[in-house]
């Protein structure tokens, strides 16, 4: 079974628009993390939200977490062409401090 699933799988927007990506997960978590991956490169940690937080901001990023619905969203405001990448949510399993499980990702294309 998949721990994290992003939605949509792909998103194409115009520069300046906002991009919203959603993540659903199945088990209880103590935090949820978002990562970005530029094509063919490593993953870059963007933001971590703990299970007792509902919203967190970092620059143009806003992350929300709804533990009752087991879902999270990542909002990128005023998108730029450089935001073009794949975005992944990742969750550690509650019974493991050693294993971060990644979702399938959302491919974001920001058109100039």
């Amino acid at each position: 079974s998949q721990q994290g699933e992003e939605d949509p799988q792909a998103l194409s927007i115009q520069e300046g628009e906002n991009a919203t990506m959603n993540c659903s997960y199945k088990t209880s978590i103590n935090n949820l993390q978002w990562y970005r991956q530029n094509s063919g490169r490593g993953l870059v940690h963007l933001i971590l939200i703990r299970s007792n937080e509902r919203e967190k901001h970092s620059g143009r990023l806003r992350v929300t977490l709804d533990t009752s619905k087991k879902s999270s969203s990542l909002l990128i405001t005023a998108s730029r062409a450089a935001d073009t990448a794949s975005y992944f949510c990742a969750t550690p399993l509650m019974d493991s401090s050693y294993k971060l499980i990644f979702g399938s990702g959302t491919r974001l294309l920001v058109r100039p």
Binding site: G40, F88, S97, L100, F102, S104
Partner: protein, 114 residues
């Protein structure tokens, strides 16, 4: 900013050959990981390493895989007898406190088995 360094960036190997992928984690990190990503697919957990031993491994991490921290800085992934389906990007990552903080990933090694 501290980085996780992986070498080589690309490796082409014959099926059945052994490969060693190398990683230098961030120096004050205590947790180390290997993940792989087959082209166009998910980032899959392979193994985590803490306190000089494997702390958790996935079903993918079978007997043909091994990890080692041969000295204070390097962290290696060995694939003993490569198969075509081992072709993937392999990412090393490290973290200070396991899953309680974000991971720092290396740029990956693209392994192609022919």
């Amino acid at each position: 900013e501290p980085e996780v360094t992986q070498t080589p960036s690309h490796q082409v190997t014959q099926m059945g050959q052994e490969v060693i992928l190398r990683c230098v984690p961030i120096s004050n990190h205590l947790y180390f990981y290997w993940y792989r990503q087959i082209l166009g697919q998910k980032v899959e957990f392979l193994v985590s390493f803490y306190n000089n031993e494997i702390s958790e491994k996935s079903e993918i991490f079978d007997d043909q895989f091994s990890v080692e921290r041969p000295d204070g800085s390097n962290f290696t992934l060995k694939i003993r007898s490569t198969k075509l389906e081992d072709s993937a990007m392999y990412f090393c990552a490290s973290s200070e406190t396991g899953t309680l903080h974000g991971y720092t990933f290396g740029s990956g090694t693209r392994l192609t088995v022919v």
